[in-house]
Amino acid sequence: MRADDATALAYLYASMLFVRKFEEAAQSSFLRGLIFGSIHLAMGQEAVSAGVCSALRQGDLVAATYRGHCQALSLGVDPTAFMSELMGKETGICGGRAGSMNIADPKHGLLGCFGIVGGSIAAATGAALTQKIMKTGHVAVAFFGDGAANQGYFLECLNFAAVRRLPVLFVCENNGYGEFTATGAVTAGSIASRPRAMGIWTREADGQDVAVVGNVASDALGHVRAGGGPAFVEAFTYRYNDHARGDPVNYRPMGEMERWKSRDPIAIGRNRALDAGASPAVLDHLDEIVAGRVKKVVRQAKDAPMPSLHHLRSIAEFFPSGDKAAHVED
């Protein structure tokens, strides 16, 4: 993407704003008891997935994490079906079986939002193996947090992908905290130095600036598509919200949140679009469209029915046969 492409930047701005408004609506729905269990919000991190996904092509595959609303929406997953899933509705992407933490939508290139830290790295590595063996020309992308850099999957899959020269892009969204604990307190050395030590193409990037992320992702994907093996991008960003319900929110130093909020990815994205020549009136109009669309999404999801219990029987149908004892209640 060129930094002077006003249309592309206006689109990215609007898509980030949509994710922000969607998550604000999800948060208030959660607080009103319309969303259950736990949701993991990514407000403040929108530029990373918007930038990377802007560089993808139809047929590329993405593995995200339980904090995966950004990636799903950036990939074009139907937002009403997505919100419905969060609300446990029959019309949800996974029929209410998944919830926020486990959504998968292979039709839209979303392999899944993996609930185990590091799981996305493994899924994308395998998907990249398929692309290589089947010679599809597509790539797989793994999104994961800084916390995953200390999981076994990280070392093992990076090594595996490097020795097999797999077409996979690893995107570390370093938001400074693994759940409640500061990254630096539990992470030896720098994260990006780890793929570098394996000879993997690696860049660090300002994760708050969608144009920067988009350009770095384009370079990385160029390397991957040219058959150079995996690439790695560490994007520095920040999570505004608590990790999830039950987070004591007492671990951030004074002033840190304010410093990061002064570099909000959506404000930066808007300025990027304006600098490239987008008109303020057009961006204001996009603001209105986004607000109206999110309201509609929430209303439709809220009005959708909860799943009826006969769905339990259809679950049994696509499960391995012979588990007769488990079917007794049907």
């Binding site: 185990i116 493994a122 998907a127 398929t130 089947m134 899959c157 595996f160 488990a326």
Partner: protein, 331 residues
């Protein structure tokens, strides 16, 4: 029909499926150039090339995770967990990813993944290279567990496993690799048990090496005038309850032989399920005790189920029931 050994039957099954289906791939530690530590994949890399048959790092998280990712995106990967004892290292991918994916996607996206593993005791490999991981996985809906006892079933069931759209754990008992047998050219469905010796007085159900021990126990029992029916379950999940219940209803007695420790084993599941369906029956288990398997030959041999222990347990139960009948009729 041709005669072959168990190890070649495994290799033939993979080779035949790879020839038919270009999406079948095989990768794991030492399976390519070396042909596997048990030589069950020898020659496959030469036949199908390094793209489809390749060696991986000693990296179970990566190879199981990659197998899952490959399975949901268009390949039918086969991986080998060199010893069943290493299964805990692949359990996150199996349990949290592979076994849930059909559920999450509403059955629209299969997970055609086969995890082969060399398992079982009797080889003097000690406590951490002899376990059978079936009970660790048995509590996970969505995983199938296959455990053949003959070369013929190994070949047929591995072909079925590769064609299955669910994750299948395929157990290969180390003590069976050299077993010779006739290879029938017939398909065997996962989840079907078979009666390998008909009998009247007692039903013995087992898998893998224990099927052969049960058959030799049945020979001994025949000398004592006891007619034992032996069932080779062949699949541990899903269990073929119909075949077991039909037999046990006729004999009135069911003994399940499980090589591993007693508590929480698959045999417990089988006797519970049979009892629920058919209460008027004597059921018991012959298993290893609840402790790790010792290395030293006399200690290992005394720990594992044997033909003698199976036969003795049957005679003991029959004596008990004969005595009970006597005392009942004497009243």
């Amino acid at each position: 029909m041709s005669k072959t050994d168990f190890r070649s039957a495994v290799r033939d099954a993979i080779s035949e499926e790879m020839r038919i289906d270009p999406t079948v791939v095989l990768f794991s530690e030492d399976v390519g150039a070396a042909g596997g530590v048990f030589q069950a994949t020898r020659g496959l890399r030469e036949l199908f090339g390094d793209e489809r048959v390749f060696d991986t790092p000693i990296s179970e998280l990566a190879l199981a995770g990659a197998a899952f990712g490959a399975a949901i995106s268009g390949l039918r990967p086969i991986i080998e967990v060199m010893f069943g004892d290493f299964t805990p290292l692949v359990m996150d991918s199996l349990i949290n990813q592979a076994a849930k994916y059909q559920f999450l996607t509403g059955g629209s996206c299969g997970v055609p993944l086969v995890v082969r593993s060399a398992v079982g005791g009797g080889g003097r490999f000690g406590a951490i290279h002899s376990q059978i991981p079936a009970p660790w996985l048995n509590n996970v809906p969505g995983i199938k567990i296959v455990a053949p006892s003959t070369p013929s079933d190994a070949r047929a069931l591995l072909r079925s496993a590769i064609r299955d759209d669910n994750p299948v754990v395929f157990l290969e008992h180390k003590r069976l690799y050299n077993l010779q047998g006739e290879c029938r050219d017939e398909a065997v469905a996962i989840g079907s048990a078979t009666v390998v010796r008909p009998g009247r007085d007692v039903t013995i159900a087992a898998v893998m090496t224990d099927v052969h021990k049960a058959l030799s126990a049945a020979d001994r029992l025949a000398h004592d005038g006891v007619s034992a029916e032996v069932i080779d379950l062949r699949t541990l999940r899903p269990l073929d309850l119909d075949t077991v219940v039909t037999s046990a209803k006729r004999t009135g007695k069911l003994v399940v032989v499980e090589e591993g420790p007693r508590t929480g084993g698959w045999a417990a599941e089988l006797v519970a399920s049979v009892s629920e369906q058919f209460g008027d029956i004597t059921v018991w288990r012959v298993t290893s005790p609840d402790r790790p398997l010792p290395y030293s030959p006399p200690l290992e041999d005394a720990t594992l189920p044997s033909a003698e222990r199976i036969a003795e347990s049957v005679l003991e139960k029959l004596r008990v029931s004969v005595n009970a009948n006597k005392s009942r009729s004497g009243r």
